[in-house]
């Protein structure tokens, strides 16, 4: 599997899939796809990411507004990786243990997931997509640190770059007959960025995140924020390689996005040394 195309079909699409792809593409362009409503909590958590007035108490209050979200966050922070010797019983305590950024990421992803129907025939693929988004966000953050780009934006861009593919999964689960797993995977990859773009306005995502959703995999054609998109694209490549347990520094160095970021082999080696740390963080966040 190519590092730059993480979710591709294992076989060429048949004529039925091509027709479905075409219909879905038309539906997206005509804004006929039913877009999930983003819960207010998620919107507020999202806006607090790039807000100078954000503080721990406000974040805790936001999360507490949504019981299932609060439960999810508490479950994660009480995982063996984080809880240490003492059980975490309050959100403020959780924030103190994991930090606002991590809690915000957990809360944001959980609330976004909650925005999509719980029962979906392609739940497995959706989970995979979320996990890949998580990992991409974590790696994008490290790339941003190395290249002195904004860490918070890169993290958010990575986390949400493939949100559109989950939307396609939901849409496919409504179709009769239901496409095969392979076909669904193909369609999620093929239409993910287009459907994600439809969410950008609807969910009032920051413009730079919208650009990441639309242009990751094609950063060269991004109308702006090329560095940020390349950062997320590089993060995604490493996330994919890590998931496949095939991290190869030489392959990563040759990626266009990595070349664009002007990273040398020694920089990549330094970045990849953080694999274990990221793997642990990922494990804790996808509980």
């Amino acid at each position: 599997m190519s590092l730059s195309s993480p979710v591709v079909a294992t076989q060429s699409p048949g004529p039925d899939v091509s027709a479905l792809e075409s219909r879905l593409r038309t539906d997206i362009a005509a804004q006929r796809l039913k877009l999930p409503v983003l819960p207010n909590v998620a919107l507020e958590v999202l806006s607090s990411t790039l807000d100078d007035a954000a503080d721990a108490q406000r974040l805790a209050n936001l999360i507490q507004k949504d019981q299932s979200l609060a439960t999810h966050v508490m479950r994660v922070v009480n995982s063996p990786l984080f809880r240490g010797s003492m059980e975490i019983v309050a959100l403020q305590q959780a924030i103190a243990r994991l930090g606002m950024v991590r809690i915000r990421e957990i809360a944001l992803t959980a609330s976004l997931k909650n925005a999509l129907p719980a029962k979906c025939s392609f739940q497995l693929l959706m989970d995979e997509a979320w996990q890949l988004g998580f990992a991409t966000g974590l790696w994008a953050k490290e790339f941003a640190r190395t290249t002195r780009k904004n860490v918070e934006i890169s993290s958010l861009g990575g986390l949400l770059y493939n949100v559109g593919s989950s939307l396609i999964a939901v849409e496919l689960s409504k179709r009769e007959p239901s496409p095969s797993l392979g076909d669904a995977k193909y369609l999620m990859a093929s239409l993910g960025s287009e459907s994600g773009a439809a969410l950008v306005d609807n969910w009032k995502l920051p413009a730079v995140v919208g650009t990441c959703i639309q242009y990751v995999g094609d950063f060269g054609n991004a109308p702006g924020n090329k560095d940020e998109v390349a950062t997320v694209e590089a993060g995604r490549a490493v996330a994919v390689a890590m998931r496949q347990d095939t991290i190869d520094a030489d392959q990563i160095v040759e990626l266009d996005a990595v070349q664009h970021l002007n990273l040398y082999p020694e920089d990549i080696e330094e970045l990849l040394a953080k694999s274990e740390q990221i793997s642990n963080a990922l494990e804790s966040m996808i509980l």
């Binding site: 100078d52 640190r145 002195r148 904004n150 040759e254 070349q259």
Partner: protein, 473 residues
């Protein structure tokens, strides 16, 4: 894997101000020149992280501040800049790109070969260049100019993560303006960013070991800087040591002072000096000696202990100014060609793009009094200058320092265009002008330059008083 094996007359390692000028001057002299740059763009830290971005941000911040002030006067709205930092920086990015583009054109026009990669010595005449794709090329040369520049120092007690605690190379990556910020350091970069952020409405605390910020400047300049900074909500803590600074893991940066007190801020910037970038050069293969401070020692022509290897810019140490580096680069190229580069002036102007802008050339008042007992100063405050009133730059000031023999020996300016204004005095300084030159000649009115005449008259008055006192005594 080697992909080429070119031979050049001169290879310049680094494309900062010194590197560019050395390369162009050598190419104009008919040399076959290559410039090797590890970054994607030409210009070095000066263009991408230092001189140009901070100055561009400075201009934008002042524009926004003035616009916000006018709006506040009309609507009583608060003056804190309401836009995002990325909006301001977005504009800066365009300026940097334009700068990169014309510099590249200039190099190409002069037939200079630009090599993108990290250079290191194989031997004194051979450099290996490692490219981003992992490939290497080998280049040979008769002369080498080392212009590797510098990078921010990262002290062990400051946990720089480029997210919560930034260096001067990552501070512009902030997506939004924090409410509070601590800036460590009292040098040029620290004061420039601290004052710009304060002007934009951030509550900035500037901390330095020295009693006053920018301690190398004339005391009048630093006190005006400090006053203006504090009027805009900034706090300066002098003679203070932060012994530990780290993100608290939650939402704040904790800076612990030597006395145990802790300051909590949203973000931090560490600007505790810069160090030269000689690591990775495998300089030991060249025979060039690096001193204890990791700087390369050179003679007056920029020549190192290895006769065909020269160095210029931050890698040789102070004054670490882009302007001086350009001249060092030109001198080095002249030396390579056996051409007399002329006398390198001891009077190097300093321009500091803080708010207010500061500039200086020659001796401070304290230095002049030590060297020329009886030296006097003359001041011109902008609130008494028509152009200063028009420009609403009442904080501006010009200070001239002269010897008892009326020789101009120092010029110090505060306020708009200070770094431009100081050059009028610099030319007088270099030509050995007496202070009366500025009294007996006519300046346009109303102009900032008029302040020279006013300050010269003030100095003349001060000297007359001093002479009268001596006569009475």
């Amino acid at each position: 894997m080697s992909v080429n094996n070119d031979v050049y007359d001169v290879i310049v390692v680094g494309s900062g101000p010194a590197g560019q000028k050395a390369a162009i001057q050598a190419a104009k002299g008919g040399k076959r020149v290559a410039i090797c740059e590890q970054a994607r763009e030409i210009g070095g830290a000066c263009v991408h992280q230092g001189t140009i971005p901070s100055k561009a941000l400075h201009e934008r911040a002042i524009e926004r501040y003035k616009a916000g002030k006018q709006f506040a006067e009309l609507s009583s709205a608060r003056q804190r800049y309401q836009g995002s930092l990325s909006e301001l920086i977005g504009e800066v990015t365009h300026i940097i790109k334009a700068h990169d583009s014309y510099m590249t054109e200039q190099l190409v026009r002069n037939g200079i070969h630009i090599i993108h990669g990290r250079a290191s010595f194989d031997d004194p005449h051979t450099l290996k260049v490692r490219h981003t794709d992992g490939k290497t090329s080998t280049i040979r040369t008769n002369f080498v100019v080392l212009e590797n520049g510098s990078k921010p120092r990262a002290p062990e007690h400051v946990a720089i993560d480029h997210e919560n605690i930034c260096g001067s190379d990552s501070i512009l990556s902030l997506a939004y303006l924090p409410q509070t910020m601590i800036v460590l350091g009292g040098g040029v970069i620290a004061c420039e960013y601290a004052s710009v952020f304060a002007l934009l409405g951030v509550q900035v605390t500037l901390v330095d070991r020295n009693a006053r910020p920018l301690g190398f400047l004339d005391a009048d300049l630093t006190s005006r800087f400090r006053d203006y900074f504090e009027q805009h909500g900034g706090v300066f803590i002098g003679e203070a040591d932060v012994v530990d600074e780290r993100f608290d893991g939650v939402s704040q940066v904790e800076s612990t002072f030597k006395d145990g007190s802790i300051l909590r801020t949203d973000k931090a910037m560490c600007s505790l000096g810069r160090i030269s970038q000689v690591d990775g050069l495998r300089i030991e293969n060249s025979g060039v000696k690096v001193n204890d401070r990791k700087l390369i020692d050179v003679d007056a022509n920029g020549r190192t202990n290895v006769p065909h290897i020269f160095a210029a810019g931050d890698v040789i140490g102070p004054p670490s100014l882009a302007s001086a580096a350009m001249e060092q680069g030109r001198c080095v190229a002249c030396a390579i060609q056996g051409v007399d580069s002329g006398k390198f002036s001891e009077y190097i102007p300093t321009g500091i793009y803080s708010v207010p802008e500061l500039a200086s050339v020659g001796l401070t008042e304290a230095q002049a009094q030590q060297r020329y007992p009886g030296a006097v100063v003359g001041r011109s405050n902008f609130k008494e200058i028509a152009r200063g009133q028009i420009a609403q730059a009442q904080e501006g000031m010009l200070k001239l320092v002269m010897t008892p023999e009326w020789d101009l020996v120092g010029i110090h300016a505060v306020g708009p265009f200070a770094s431009e204004r100081v050059h009028i005095g610099q030319m007088g300084l270099l030509s050995g002008a007496k202070i009366d030159t500025y009294i007996e000649n006519v300046f346009n009115f109303p102009t900032h330059a008029e302040s020279y005449r006013v300050a010269a008259l003030d100095a003349h008055g001060a000297l007359s008083k001093a002479t009268s006192r001596l006569a009475v005594a």
